[in-house]
Amino acid sequence: MTPTGDELTGRTAAGLAAMVRRGDVSAVEVTEAHLQRIAALDGDVRSFLCVGEAEARAAAAGVDAARARGEALGPLAGVPLAVKDMFCTKDLPTTCASRILEGWRPPYDSTVVARLRAAGAIVIGKTNLDEFAMGSSTENSGFFPTANPWDLGRVPGGSSGGSAAAVAARFAPLALGTDTGGSIRQPAALCGVVGLRPTYGRVSRYGIVAYASSLDQAGPFATTVADTALLLEAMWGHDPCDSTSIPSAPEPVLASLEDGVAGLRIGIVEELADVDGIQPEVRAAVESARGLFEKAGAEVDTVSVPSVEYGLSAYYVIAPAEASSNLARYDGVRYGLRAPAAEVAAMNAATREAGFGAEVKRRIMLGTYALSAGYYDAYYGQAQRVRTLIIRDFARAYRDFDLLVSPTSPTTAFGLGEKTADPLTMYLSDVCTVPTSLAGATALSLPCGLAPEDGLPVGIQLMGKALDEVTVLRAARALEQELALPAPLPEIRVPA
């Protein structure tokens, strides 16, 4: 496919917002251009579960009318936004890619969506994901898998695969994801876009369907670091509806974006850079980033964070344990699917049997077991102790370094169906991203070119201290400049 003539869909969010503000283009025109591109190409990519054409057009018309009345426009006025289907939207169904919630319309907007609508963003549709965000390839969607725009025979990563693919394919310049163990960063890497996981508590979880509450955090996808920062500033900040939301106002990130990395101490995490099964091109990308950071004036060294090796094991106890409880509400009583049965308990069981996919059931069982009397301390308790250890190890590393670096994913995008037979192999995709999640800290995945062998995007992960999005974004911007890549735009090709 070719985007020729489709001038608007190649632009950044910041650029589009400026054009709309100036009146160079209307919000309706911007929305139409993206809707047309979706109509033309999403049949192959399948990144959207639902495209809200009428709703998007109405919202865009609202922005244009506000401008016509001379009202001040928000920072994202007229910018199309793709929303992972974990966020409640009152005008569009919210399914979490699960049959159990098929057709459910929330009575309310999530705080993040409400804030972004207030900032002028146009919600263009809800994107596909692994059911309830459980997975690393979007193949666990209860409806259909999403393809990677760079190679339609490969996965986009997951669980926010639909959002990453939608931004990569320029169906929207911005998208929302959620990241529990890496669900923003890993698909960002596999699709060649920027994805940020903010510090736990920075972004309100209110209205985001819970998978693992102590780990879930929403974040932005964009094609540039500046757009990532723009979306982040419009969505984060304290929310009284989320008790775990951090009360203090975050430090603005856009203002310091161009401050560079001169004098910054950057550590390459040994255990993750040389993780088992790492693809040589991915390892090489980390090495080249090292050179580029040094060129830009940073001090780069390697650092050991030994406990990260236990991250996956701890994650796959804590996340399923919380999920087993969070997903108990899908019982057919109040909303969503109800499978008929003679008695309430049988109805609950039949509903859950019919409505949940295999991976969701697997994690509910794992988590239920881990919390059971007599096993709690050996599993959940032990996993929490590992979590404490990881936090402590990171704190030690941050005594000597301002920022840590690793691959985002050990490999580039893998083939559809390649890992579905073996859940453990699939879980290994999260090995580099899980430690930051457990530490409650922030990390970003930045595209750093295409692997020479397979021509697929490679991502590098920049990890910051909790609350230090400023340094992460500043360093990402510096690396983006040094890389000087052309805006990565996949040619959507049909698999052989």
Binding site: F87, C88, T94, C96, L101, W104, P106, P107, Y108, S110, R205, Y206, G207, I208, V209, A210, A212, S213, S214, P240, C241, D242, S243, T244, A321, E322, S324, S325, A328, R329, D331, V333, R334, Y335, E343, V344, A345, N348, T368, L371, S372, A373, Y376, Y380
Partner: protein
Amino acid sequence: MTGEAGAGLGQELITTIGLEIHVELATRTKMFCGCPVAFGGEPNTRVCQVCLGHPGTLPVPNAEAIAYAAKIGMALGCAIAPSSIFHRKNYFYPDMPKNYQISQYDIPLCTGGAVAIETDGVPAAVGITRVHLEEDTGKSLHMGGGGRIHGADYSLEDFNRAGTPLVEIVTEPDMHSADQARAFATELRATLEALEVSDIRMEEGSMRFDANISMAPPGRLGAKVEVKNLNSLRSLHRALAYEEQRQREVLGDGGTIEQSTRHWDERAGVTRPLRTKEHAFDYRYFPEPDLVAIEPPADWLESIAASLPELPAARRRRFEEQFGLSAYDAGVLVASRPAAAYFEAAVAAGRKAEPKEVANWLANDLVGLLTKRGESIEACAIPPEHLAELVDLVAGGEISRLQGREVLDDMAAAGAGGPPPAAIVEKKGLRQLSGGDELAAVLDEVIAANPDVWARLRAGDTKPEGFLFGQVMRATKGQANPSAVRNLLKTRLDG
């Protein structure tokens, strides 16, 4: 105590009872959302996405509920934890929207208090293990199949109650009889009433009891039986008395009591098995990740402590000291907060009457009358000033006690806005002849009309005294002061 020789059948068994009490807090809004707290109403009208457990919703703790729970803890002598946390209690039930209940588990808000009780003049202390916060469930209505969930044709769910703040108060196993358990529950109820933190309407389920009871020879512990569905002080007492008797019979017959849960059937007056230990739930408690620790600031706790009202024990002591009431009378009045308040208002309004007399009129006459009329002291139409006036009229000798009761009946019948007792006395022409010429004249007439009787009395036979007395009362239409008549009669006989 005969020690070893006493072992075996017929040996002494010690009863051990511990209570868990759930109390709905009368906060303005629910525990974790802004829906109003109230009883009843159209089903599913006081609900929102949070208390319905819709996907994506999060709980935000109600500061007023935490303050109320801290108040209860302080009143029961508990320490308030500088940091306490919520847990999730996981189990499936259709009236529980999230299929887990947000509750407190190993680090509750309040721990380690005690309540003094007394039964048959014997004092005892009941330890308070903990007071913690949680959320209530909705209500299920199972249609068909005997009203139980199993076998029902269908169930209706009302989530108006879902998310109402609850405190759970857990006692130490310090009670040893149904009487003690009732005494504790009565004291707790009075304390909660004084704190104004709950409606404590048991018939509406705002205070509910679970009891754990075991029986064993001295020095040993028996298997614990939990009795559920105790919704009044009366059912608490009946169920425990029943269960004590049942366990005594089982053990006496050489049987064993299994650790189990039983359901109190109020109508049949029996407990029935619900589940045994093997079928106990595994609630898979874990710390609630959607909430942060409750860390009440010290000055906030101090202001709560400073706002605590006079508690029942202190009020009883004051009633005894300030008003000279007996421990019994003070206990009766203080057990009901409205009665105590009514009493104080009446005493303050009275001029001649002793507080002791006011207490008698209130506890014996007025409360009895209201009960007969199906009314309550809270909504009593007779203002305390009127009762005080009535007691004054009797104490001043203007009317007799018997006449006083008649006036009280009229006052109650007149309802709110009725005339004061003096006006009723006036209107009915009631008065008491307490001496003077009028009463003496009546007596002389009676003596003159009954010369034989008078002669027998003069001769030392006391038997006809009652007859003469009755004649005087009849002649005065009951208005004669009995002691004045007796005195006058004595004067005549001596004279």
